[in-house]
């Protein structure tokens, strides 16, 4: 079962290691982890996606809550959450595939953000499934290099992780 967990942490030295170390120690696998400063620079927000049974998920949430620098942990439920991921993907710029690359980018509402005689860099944003689908389309054409940010997610509506 795939789960998305949002973690509100103090923006301090070593916090990422603490969180990542906890997953390692307890034998849980992280699918993706995205972290960045919040509107209050004292805090960062992590979005962690993972796979595992419900009991394992409950345990990891409880363990996260024990970390001193972790201020809030919330399981983001399916359907009640908006998720986005950013992909940057570099393909060879060849006459025979150029049109196909541009058409696919268009369909996936991507953007070509770098264009040279040898290569193109494409930016695609969307839900993780869409990102994966775009990668699958590009695979036969030949991916030179790619980078994904991992999922960033927020609850729908006025629900927030940390009340002000």
């Amino acid at each position: 079962m795939r789960s998305v967990i949002a973690v509100y942490v103090e923006n301090k030295f070593g916090v990422l290691t603490r969180v990542a170390g906890l997953f390692m120690r307890k034998g849980f696998n992280i699918d993706s982890l995205a972290v960045g400063e919040t509107e209050d620079p004292q805090y960062s927000r992590m979005t962690i996606t993972l796979r595992g049974e419900e009991s394992a998920r409950e345990q990891i949430i409880h363990q996260l809550k024990k970390l001193h620098n972790v201020k809030e942990v919330k399981l983001l439920s399916d359907g009640e959450t908006v998720e986005r991921e950013l992909l940057l993907l570099k393909v060879r710029n060849l006459p025979k595939t150029r049109t196909e690359v541009m058409a696919a980018t268009d369909v996936y509402r991507g953007k070509i953000i770098d264009y040279s005689t040898d290569s193109m860099v494409i930016e695609v944003t969307g839900e993780p499934l869409k990102i994966q689908a775009f990668i699958d389309v590009m695979q036969p054409i030949g991916i030179m290099e790619m980078g994904r940010t991992g999922t960033v997610a927020l609850a729908r509506g006025a629900d927030v992780l940390q009340e002000k």
Partner: protein, 565 residues
């Protein structure tokens, strides 16, 4: 210091904050990056007593033993590099047994960090998984509050060790300092009355209630309340190794330690129960055996300070997280008296079986472990601190030593740290003041016997009873059962003369070859001012019984020596 707003060095702030937090004793070992701190300790030696051990590991175990015996936060200091890494086993031991401790380490100056400088080690990274929290302080302005926060974290909720790494330049840097009061533990969340009532309702429905007492209950002094409650709902009481001193052993409802080498009656009663009320327990594999077959008919209620312990090892019907004393008292108040005569008959039958099995399994020799423990029971008082190392002797002590008061049984439970005992006994004795008896084996004692020097220097009233079976008995026992008696590296053909060894350190050394000789030697040692070591030769073949094999179910309990023959 004539200025209006005097400036204090980091080292001064550390010492002042320790004093402010009520610390009176620290254990440690000096070195290059804590020179400034030790200079301050020297200047304040009238307020803060420093105990120098032979090795930093001993100092860490001493701070741990000090905390277990007193309930106060134990403090240990070490220098950077090897000084800091030598603390690691001690910190990990305290972590898994939830012992409040603050470890202070020096480090090279911040300008030297990351350059593989002499005695530089990233102890912050190393201890991250084995501390409740840890700090690397880079700004002297944050130092005092960091230490205060460390004390608060160490003693709040489920206690644990906290490490603070302080680079040398931060110890030298200056800033203002204002003393504050002792930090209070953070209050815990209150449990709703609905949940309390639910727990009470489940208890009232039960016909075979079993109160399962762990280290959490022992640490918060739940004793009288447990006895009164057991009486009221007509329940029996069992415990984990960590919970051993929570309940006075004379209590007729107390069945002793359960689990792998627990007492037969408590292990069986736990598995037969239809209600298990866990008080500060974590359902460790050593206490439960195979969790899939554990207490199959029981509704389990778990009271703990740590949310992550609920449903971690065993799924429970109800988990109440928060202040253990508070929650237990509220549940007790919500329960009406009950009587379970059938259950009590069953318990009596289990006790009778246990008595027969124990009698049959006892070695009919002069120096059987059980007889030796009986002598210790005869000679000790209710205040005597019983400290153990790890191995067979530890389990015999857990099974046989009679305890009447809390914090009188000090043993490495979760980590099973051989070599824990010497340091822990010294620390416990210094903290509590009562005489300490260290029950140890030739294997464990061999690991940290260097601390004899500390016991002699500080004239610690300590009796070391060394069960010498010339083997690493606990591991040997497993090889006997499961490895075709191939005793790989567990038979010790060592020529150590423990009597001379003790004497060389300046302690009294005795060897007792008969039970009467042991009684006489132990009697004298209990009146001796300093440390005495009494070596007792015991049978190498003596197994610890009963034995619930790792991952075993109740039908698998080994109760006779025939399994070994």
């Amino acid at each position: 210091m004539r200025k209006k707003n005097p400036q204090w060095t980091g080292a001064q702030i550390v010492v002042q904050t320790l004093i402010e937090q009520g610390v009176t004793d620290v254990f440690g070992y000096p070195g290059g990056t804590v020179l400034d701190l030790y200079d301050e300790l020297y200047l304040h030696r009238d307020k803060l007593r420093h105990i120098l051990t032979a090795h930093e590991q001993g100092a860490a175990h001493a701070a741990d033993g000090y905390a277990r015996a007193t309930g106060k936060v134990g403090v240990v200091i070490a220098t950077s590099g090897p000084g800091a890494t030598n603390l690691v086993t001690g910190i990990a031991t305290a972590m898994i047994d939830s012992v409040p401790m603050v470890a202070l380490t020096g480090n090279v100056a911040t300008s030297q960090i990351g350059r593989d400088s002499f005695q530089e080690i990233n102890i912050y990274g190393i201890t991250m998984p084995i501390t409740k929290h840890n700090y690397f302080v880079t700004d002297v302005h944050e130092l005092a509050d960091t230490i205060r926060e460390a004390f608060q974290i160490a003693k709040s909720g489920r206690p644990g060790p906290v490490l603070i790494d302080i680079p040398k330049d931060v110890q030298l840097a200056k800033c203002a300092f204002t003393p504050q009061g002792v930090v209070a533990p953070q209050p815990q969340k209150e449990v709703s009355q609905t949940e309390i009532d639910r727990a009470a309702a489940l208890i009232q429905k039960a016909e075979r209630p079993y109160i399962y007492v762990g280290g959490g209950a022992a640490a918060c002094g739940l004793t009288e309340e447990i006895l009164a409650f057991a009486e009221r709902i007509d329940a029996c009481i069992g415990c984990t190794l960590m919970g051993l001193s929570a309940v006075p052993h004379h209590c007729p409802r107390f069945l002793g330690m359960q689990g792998m080498h627990g007492r037969y009656a408590s292990t069986m009663a736990n598995r037969r129960a239809d209600l298990v009320l866990g008080l500060g327990v974590r359902f460790s594999d050593r206490a439960t055996g195979n969790t899939a077959t554990y207490a199959p008919e029981a509704t389990i209620i778990q009271l703990d300070a740590d949310l992550s312990e609920i449903n971690k090892n065993v799924p429970v019907a109800l988990g109440l997280v928060g202040d253990l004393v508070e929650n237990f008292k509220r549940i007790a108040a919500a329960c009406a008296p009950a009587a379970h005569p059938d259950w009590m008959d069953e318990i009596a039958a289990l006790r009778e079986t246990e008595r027969k099995l124990t009698q049959a399994a006892q070695t009919v020799c002069d120096l059987s472990p059980q007889r030796l423990m009986d002598v210790i029971n005869d000679e000790k008082t209710d205040d005597t601190l019983i400290v153990t190392d790890v191995g067979q002797h530890q389990m015999w002590a857990a099974q046989c030593i009679d305890l009447e008061k809390a914090r009188r049984f000090i043993s490495s439970g979760g980590l099973g740290t051989m070599g824990y005992g010497m340091g822990a006994a010294i620390g416990a004795q210094i903290g509590d003041g009562s005489r300490a008896v260290l029950i140890t084996g030739d294997g464990s004692f061999g690991m940290n016997l260097n601390e004899l020097t500390t016991a002699v220097t500080y004239q610690i009233p300590l009796v070391i009873v060394l069960f010498n079976n010339g083997a690493l008995g606990m591991v040997r026992q497993l090889q006997e059962l499961y490895y075709g008696r191939r005793y790989a590296e567990t038979e010790l053909a060592r020529k150590t003369d423990f009597v001379k060894l003790a004497q060389a350190f300046g302690a009294k050394g005795e060897r007792a070859a008969t039970l009467e000789a042991f009684r006489a030697a132990f009697h004298a040692a209990m009146r001796h001012r300093g440390p005495t070591l009494i070596e007792v030769p015991i049978e190498k073949e003596e197994p610890v019984l009963p034995m619930l094999p790792p991952d075993g179910a109740d039908g698998d309990i080994i109760t006779t020596k025939e399994a070994f023959q």
